[in-house]
């Protein structure tokens, strides 16, 4: 136990972020509490449930991300696992694909081990190259070719969504270039998650207040042009003020935050379309008020790898 807590080294920037997150949560809790006293409605009730879930998620995340890197790896790996489980419980796979699912789950510990060791190249190609060849071949080994193309496409892609994207969060805290010369991987991790979730919330809020023109009428009626543009602008502003966590200058920050906002929107839209295909509103009821785990990490799975590579590019080119 001592060993775990001894390794906690909180640089002042991270302490600031924790304070900001807790302040926002307290503010939201009070806001909806007072709002509910003045004018109770269904929306406020839902917001209260959502805020409660945010408290739990933030506490788990902050605990896992600051205590010990090893704890962070296990927590992120478990997040990947939950995402895959949720996806495979909804996908209507063939019965025979079951034997291959085991190898899909097995790729989680391998991918996070590669991240832990910091084997950068192997980490990058393990899923897009090796798993994209191995999994279709394992499907071939089952001998059943009816509808095999569907499984061949779905299973590796599910790994891209659930494992590859999220594991970049783990790579942030182990990658040598991200943890030297005054750069802190932990701070970058907090920045990314803060910006991505802020983007989700901002798009939601702007869409709820000003939303009129639907951006994807057939896929998701909740997504509007007003929400998207408002979200990108406010995320960029938030990213600018949270820039003390990163080694970047103003222009790089603006570019980075706005591209995270756009990528986050893309992830949201992709998962909305998938859910529409399944004919469900939420992936599961794991998180009260939010739906499933995948409903929460959908944007994270598409922002993590672009964020990592943009930051990496900026760091090595400067």
């Amino acid at each position: 136990m001592n060993k775990i807590f001894n390794s906690v080294d909180l640089i002042p920037e991270i302490q600031w972020v924790i304070a900001i997150i807790l302040l926002i949560l307290v503010f939201a809790t009070l806001l909806f509490w007072i709002w509910n006293m003045i004018k109770p409605s269904k929306l406020v009730d839902e917001m209260k449930i959502r805020t409660r879930s945010w408290w739990i998620m933030c506490c788990i995340f902050l605990f896992a991300s600051i205590v010990n890197p090893v704890v962070t790896y296990f927590a992120l790996g478990f997040l990947s696992f939950l995402t895959l489980r949720e996806l495979y419980s909804q996908l209507k796979l063939r019965k025979i694909d079951r034997s291959v699912l085991f190898f899909c789950y097995l790729s989680i510990p391998i991918q996070y081990f590669l991240a832990f060791k910091g084997y950068y190249t192997l980490f990058l190609i393990f899923i897009p190259v090796f798993m994209f060849i191995i999994i279709p071949f394992l499907l071939v080994l089952t001998g059943e070719t009816k509808d095999i193309i569907r499984s061949m496409c779905i299973l590796p892609t599910s790994l891209m969504l659930g494992v590859f994207g999220i594991s970049h969060l783990a790579l942030l805290i182990s990658f040598p270039e991200m943890n030297s010369n005054g750069v802190s991987g932990k701070a970058l991790l907090l920045f990314l998650i803060f910006i991505t979730e802020a983007n989700d919330i901002m798009q939601f809020v702007w869409g709820k207040i000003f939303g009129k023109h639907k951006i994807l009428p057939k896929v998701s009626p909740n997504k509007t042009w007003e929400g998207f543009i408002g979200g990108v602008i406010s995320t960029t502003i938030i990213g600018y003020f949270m820039g003390f966590l990163t080694p970047l200058n103003t222009w790089q920050l603006i570019l980075l935050s706005s591209s995270i906002a756009v990528f986050g929107f893309m992830g949201d839209a992709i998962m909305s379309a998938v859910k529409r295909d399944f004919g469900v509103k939420d992936m599961s009821n794991a998180i009260p008020g939010h739906g499933g785990v995948l409903d929460r990490v959908d944007s994270l799975s598409t922002t993590a790898s672009p964020f990592f590579h943009i930051v990496y590019f900026i760091i090595i080119s400067s």
Binding site: E86, S89, K95, L101, F102
Partner: protein
């Protein structure tokens, strides 16, 4: 000793494994909380069904709850028998009726008279996944003989997907186990009992 072992295996190991790793959700398992004796009837598609139900039972009287298993299927070797007896707490019953001593209803009845609780799968065998087959009459005879024992319906939703028939690896799948209220029988006619218990389980499907 056996009680401690069962509590450790089910209330600790299996419950956490099923909840965290497999993704099993327990609904209304508080129904069992203050009941001394009951018969649990459930739909049956997989060996995981027994594990899921046993892990939901309050640890206080887990040693008094016996899943009923067929001796010709589960009692093949001595090793299997010991496993079933100590790790599953199962009661093995003989199915052939050539010898009147072996009547399965009698042996279950004896268990109930000793104020033990039973887990029954009235469909008989694991059957086709997701489809409920007709209930066996034995359940009706047993309830007729023990009208004051609570009969609690249990519905296992998608639990079979974690370990389908004939497969060896357990894989995660979001599934749930739902406990109902004790069944109230209008009359203790055989057909009436079977019909209302079938209805009680299908009511839990949602």
């Amino acid at each position: 000793m056996k009680k401690i072992l069962l509590i450790f295996i089910y209330s600790f190991l299996w419950r956490n494994f099923l909840r965290i790793f497999i993704g099993l959700k327990y609904y209304n398992n508080k129904t069992l909380k203050n009941k001394k004796q009951f018969i649990l009837i459930a739909n049956h598609n997989s060996h995981m069904d027994t594990m899921a139900i046993m892990s939901a039972i309050p640890s206080r009287y887990i040693h008094r709850v016996h899943p009923i298993a067929a001796r010709d299927f589960f009692g093949g070797s001595l090793f299997k028998k010991i496993l079933m007896r100590y790790l599953v707490n199962a009661t093995l019953i003989k199915r052939d009726r050539t010898d009147p001593e072996n009547d399965p209803i009698d042996s279950m009845d004896k268990m109930l008279k000793k104020s033990r609780s039973l887990i029954l799968y009235p469909e008989g065998s694991r059957g086709i996944p997701g489809v409920m087959s007709n209930f066996k009459k034995g359940l009706g005879y047993l309830i007729q003989r023990n009208p004051d024992v609570d009969v609690i319906p249990v519905y296992l939703d998608n639990v079979y997907k974690t370990l389908p028939k004939g497969k060896k690896i357990i894989l995660p799948y979001n599934c749930s186990i739902n406990f109902g209220e004790p069944i109230k029988f209008n009359s203790y006619e055989l057909e009436d009992i079977l019909e209302s218990s079938e209805k009680a389980i299908s009511k839990l499907v949602d």
